[in-house]
Assembly symmetry: none
Homo-oligomer: 424 residues x 2
């Protein structure tokens, strides 16, 4: 059978044709297909209009080896993917009794006080020659349908259902149908720099990579508080592709040093958590303008209870004094948004919580509260251990949530550099 090399993705859902929702499943699907060397050559979004979906499906099917659908597999009238695909491929739908039984059992197990509605039996319909793909996290099974050398895969829309299903296929049945060349990617994460300057600094590397035997493609992406360098390489041998990217990642670290905080796309909160675990340290955060975001990010990491046992959100001046012992005179003298107050907050949480690293963050997230002297986006951040102290006043731009995120990012990065430095 001809190996699959060109893919098309169709997202189904009328909400994806409104100004409110964008199809993001296709990013994950692309990543997974790329792992097998399958390139995505077109993507489309259709609503629940049967005729339009059929038209889109035919257009995509005409040009690709594999079509992956996401969405439209639910039990309601709006869920038309199964039916439209069966029609276009001229494969009559039949109820799979084992699937119906499974659906009923799953429904009952969730403790609903009523039997499964008859409408849900739609989810047990399978086109002639197709086979269901198990969904361990939801009621909608996927479908796998071959058509000569072509393959059509139907997956449910919810990412938490779609992702494990596709991952399983990519490790098994889909791998068997793909060409040998692997397209491999790496994400390098960078803090404390500007995008344009980073891009310029890396230019010589881009040239070198492009001219190499196994070329590496690079794209730089940025958002406030956030720079990512995406690398990709393709080779018949997956190992060689991976080694090529490993070498490229080392090139980047050689140029950017500690500004490159992960060469494997890790979150900053995970990098900080790993450093704390490695050094057997604990952390406490005194948050004002970030309102708990830093602690929430730190505790997004499984096992974070090893290094974090408490934090404080001290939004008002009184709270800073009550909970952290920040002297009211200090606030009166320097203002709540100042390096001395951030330092006192860091010191307060460090001694009150009895932890190795104390962090203090105080600023103006906006939209109100700014002054000519301290405009919206001004944030004072301090981090300290028994031996070392760092502090700085930042000026972030953007909306309230963007300021909060950038402040949390800067605080975590300050902790990371403090830990790296104190180990030297």
């Amino acid at each position: 059978m001809k190996p699959l090399s060109r893919g098309g993705i169709i997202a189904v859902g009328s909400e994806l044709l409104t100004p409110l929702r964008v199809d993001t499943n296709s990013l994950f699907i692309t990543e997974q297909l790329n792992l097998l060397g399958i390139e995505v050559v077109m993507k489309a979004v259709a609503g629940d209009d049967r005729d339009m979906l059929a038209h889109v499906f035919r257009a995509v099917l005409e040009r690709v080896d594999i079509v992956v659908f996401s969405g439209g597999l639910g039990p309601t009238d709006d869920d038309v993917t199964r039916e439209v695909v069966a029609n276009v491929l001229q494969r009559p739908l039949r109820e799979d009794e084992r699937l119906t039984t499974m659906l009923r059992e799953r429904f009952n197990a969730r403790g609903f006080p009523m039997p499964m509605p008859e409408i849900n039996r739609r989810q047990a319909m399978v086109p002639d020659g197709g086979r269901p793909i198990e969904n361990t996290r939801g009621s909608a099974p996927g479908l796998w349908i071959e058509r000569g050398d072509q393959l059509v895969v139907l997956l449910p829309g919810p990412p938490r259902e779609l992702r494990p299903m596709l991952t399983t296929l990519v490790a098994g049945d889909l791998r068997a149908r793909a060409a040998a060349a692997a397209l491999v990617r790496r994400i390098i994460k960078i803090a404390g720099r500007f995008e344009s300057e980073t891009d310029q600094t890396l230019q010589p590397l881009y040239g070198k990579w492009a001219a190499a035997d196994v070329p590496v493609a690079a794209t730089i992406l940025s958002a406030p508080g956030h720079i990512e360098l995406h690398l990709s390489a393709r080779h018949a041998s997956r190992d060689i592709a991976e080694q090529t990217l490993e070498a490229a990642a080392n090139d980047v670290v050689g140029v950017l040093g500690a500004d490159a905080y992960s060469t494997h796309g890790a979150l900053l909160e995970r990098v900080v958590g790993d450093l704390l675990v490695e050094r057997g340290l604990t952390i406490g955060v005194a948050e004002s303008c970030t309102g708990g975001l830093i602690t929430s990010r730190l505790t997004d990491i499984p096992g974070s209870s090893r290094y974090l046992d408490r934090s404080v959100v001290s939004y008002s001046n009184e709270a800073k004094t009550d909970l952290l012992g920040v002297p009211p005179e200090l606030i009166a003298e320097h203002g709540a948004v100042s390096e001395p107050v951030a330092l006192a907050m860091a010191d307060g949480i460090r001694s009150h919580a009895g932890v190795s690293v104390g962090v203090g963050v105080t600023g103006i997230a906006g939209p109100g509260g700014g002054t000519p002297d301290k405009p919206v986006g001004t944030v004072a951040i301090a981090a300290m251990t028994a031996a070392t102290t760092r502090s700085r006043v930042f000026r972030f731009t953007g909306e309230r949530e963007t300021v909060k995120f950038q402040a949390s990012q800067a605080a975590l990065d300050m902790v990371r550099r403090l830990l790296l430095e104190s180990s030297q």
Copy 2:
């Protein structure tokens, strides 16, 4: 001329076919077209492959009145939109001398030390019968091409160039070509229910709305902790369309009662904040497994300092005792994840912070820490005022971050219901 009513959007760019970038221009384009009553019925993404882009364009053109392109109008070989569109429509490209002059002037004005490269003259090519659309923020002009009753609009990819260009068209030339009907939307947000059951409960309304003089279309969307009902209506009079949705929103509230927490798509943290301001109350949160997320969400709302001045993240048992006065014996007797401990946490933050509403949340976010008795996802939540107390143990499913989000949602919803109840 037949007014434009069905639209298609094509985003052009190979980076949009990687796992890294999603087309977001289409959201803005959709919003703008909707303002004119033009419904978007399909969207597509293509790379810089000429043949594939032509195929996609033909497929879209076959079913819509207006096609809007974004991207692929730059000066390089990779920028193929102009050429492909001209080919498909069989309109030879000709250089517009005035455009060339303008491009040269713009280039020189930017202070480059060299004359404009010849390659940039591509941006001055206009298909027969087409006309350029001025771009005040970049070098790539747009293109407006009529084909019988159909219209094709080409816009550059950078949002800061595309947005003002489209806004100008919508206020002028495009408005003149559209039907008078406005397409209006509303989002109703729902808590404390399951999607399928909500959908079933609303069925009679769907039927009534579909049969009305001004029909209302409804789509239900859900994610863990989250149900949204999206309503839309179209009418020549924008006011009538809005009134129709207002009546439909009231229908929903009539059926779902307090479970519908917003009829205007407001965030739950905003609804809670508004209730607190309205009643002149303050709030403090004692967070364990949510790790600061609830407070971070509450402080995402501008002006939240009016009702929140402190919160505590008490991750460990010791922190619960130190910061909130939870008796160690209570934890020993019931376990840290229990209603009595959640209540003691809520009571502790309420009295320590001197606020009207105290909230306590303690649970197991996973992936570790679960027991047969209290599996991962078990979360005890309590909320109390001087007069009233609520508490409950929830069982959420999903990954760590999903459990955290659902717990924060349930806690905010509990506060909301407590406030609604205590005002009656």
